[in-house]
Structure formats: C-alpha cells, structure tokens
Amino acid sequence: MIIAERKLMEEIKRLVAPFKKVLVAGCGTCVAVCWAGGEKEVGILASQLRLARNAEGNKITVLEATVERQCEKEMVLELKDKVAEVEAVLSLACGAGVQTMAELFEDKPVFPAVNTTFIGKPEKEGLWTEMCGACGDCFLDRTGGVCPVVRCAKGLLNGPCGGTRKGGKCEIDPEKDCAWVLIYRRLEKQGRLALMREYNPPKNYRAVKRPGRIQAVKA
C-alpha cells in the first residue's frame, strides 16, 4: 500500500493561515492503515488546528470528512457540498488523492497535509517499510521475492556488495537487513541458488513512461 507521513504542524498551519474556514479531508484506504490520513487522523488534525488558531486569537472553522478512496472521482464527489462551504481543503490523502480532489474542485485550493513517501508494508504496529519502487520492470522472480532495487541501499541488481556486515546487516544502516543476504537465504530454501551466479542485466528503468498510464483490456 501507499505509505504517507503527516507534514509538520508548522507547515500545515502556514498553508491554511490565510483562511477562516477549511475542510480536512481524509482517505479511508492506504493512508488510514498507515495512521496518516484516516478518519481518526482527520479528527486529530482538525482539533489541533482549532486549538492552534484559538491560541493565536484567530479562530478557524474546520469541517471534517473522510471518503473511502480519495483517488476515485465518484467517492470524492460525495464531498461536493462540504467543499462548497469552505475556502480551502486540506487533504490527508496520498498525492493521487490530493490531485483527484484538486481536479474536481478547481475553484478551491487543495493542499496536501501529508507527504506521500513510498509503497510498503507494515512490519509491526506503527512501523512500515518500503517494498516496491514501482519501476515497471519487475524481476522478483529471480530474487526470491525480495526486491533489491528498493531494499538494497545501493539498489544493486547483482549483489551483495562487499560491505555486508556480520549477521547479514547493511553497511549503510546496521539496523537494516542486507537485501542480498535475504535473497541468498530465500533462494537457498527454494533450492534455486544457481540464480545467484546468473548475471542480471541493467534494468530497463524506462519501462514506465512518465506519467504512467495503463488501459485494461476488458474481457
């Protein structure tokens, strides 16, 4: 899923400083799971904004709303009436959600309240790690399902480098596992270690033309 992190309060306050009535809009999918922009976080941010502005003696009215997915027009349109009431929107969705909202309500400024960071998975409660770089040329079949493009600090396609620490940790960050050690161990379990000796040619990083676009073929 898409992982995001809330922006610093100072920055958010600055974004809405000229406005007296704003909507804090959350998204109930990825950003809700990574505790950045779900219904709960919408409530917290709205409350913090009111407290901050009250303390400054410059009151603000903050409306709150969360839709299931802010990257889908039909769902964002549910907010039409609320958006009409406010001067600006603070979106807690990922970049796709912010842009969908900005496209639908062109007459209102839509500001991001989170930084969209990466595609990842939860490791444990409150900890997410990057898993996929959306490179458009997946070769997880040759690496035992471990992606060295994002999980190796150097993005090596033919690893490991000479810097792997004892215990299979990365030389850049001793807290992180060396992706190539993980790949070796996985392939060993599968009896496919021969793949370690095979040369992986340079990846085609132009596999996805930016901006990416996929047209599904209807069955």
């Binding site: 409530g43 917290i44 409350s47 303390a55």
Partner: protein, 130 residues
C-alpha cells in the same frame, strides 16, 4: 470559579475511589468534572483534544494501578495515548503538561483527593503567574 479540570475515571478504580471519597466526606477542588469511563483504555487522544477545545484547564486520565488493569492492558494503552496527546498539544504550542495519567486502586480515596488537589493547586498557581 476557575476553569474546569476533566477527570476521566475508570469505573474499576478511580471512580470507586471518587465514590469512596464522597462517602468519607473528603473534599476536593470544586472545578473538577468527573467522567466515568468503562476503562482508562477507552480514552483516545481525540477525547483529550476535544476537552481542550472546550476550554478546560487540564485533563486527567485516572486508571487502575499498573499491572492491575481490569481489562489487562487498558491502563498501559491509556498511558501511551496520554503521552501522544501531550506531544500533539505541544505541537500546537499548548502546555503538554496539562494532560496527565495517574494510577490508583479503588480503595484509595485519599490518593484520589491528593491528585486532584495537587493538579488544581498547580494550575491555580500557573494561572496566577500569567
């Protein structure tokens, strides 16, 4: 009358302690508003923030003694949430010290009154200094 202090009281510990304080004729600050909750773990950061939005002077979360939570880990969760609320309040320039978690047993009316008196006095002093 000075600003209100909201005390979220767990119904298995602080609330019976408050009840006992009343039955024993103990007096505590009159600006304290007690809200009975099924467990301190029921309190979420949004409850604490909303209370401050309403203009309270302080929020107290009173739960069972450590290791004695009726719902096993409710008081531990409450402690973490209070810490988080403290951080959120500091982020908006408010006094994070105005939200506190205390642990007490149901048969501790004197401790209950002592906590409320201390907090109430501390707030009154701080208000005077402003």
């Amino acid at each position: 009358m000075s600003k209100e202090i909201v005390a979220f009281c767990c119904q298995h510990s602080a609330y019976p302690a408050a009840d006992l304080a009343g039955k024993s004729g103990l007096r505590y600050a009159e600006n304290v508003r007690i809200i009975r909750v099924p467990c301190a773990g029921r309190i979420d950061v949004i409850h604490i923030l909303k209370a401050f939005e309403k203009g309270v002077a302080a929020v107290l979360v009173l739960g069972c003694e450590e290791g004695a939570c009726h719902h096993i880990t409710g008081n531990d969760r409450a402690k973490e949430r209070v810490k988080y609320a403290e951080m959120l309040l500091k982020e908006v320039g408010a006094d994070g010290g105005r939200v506190k978690m205390y642990n007490l047993s149901p048969n501790a009316p004197h401790k209950f009154v002592k906590i409320l008196d201390e907090v109430s006095k501390k707030i009154a002093d701080e208000e005077k200094q402003k």
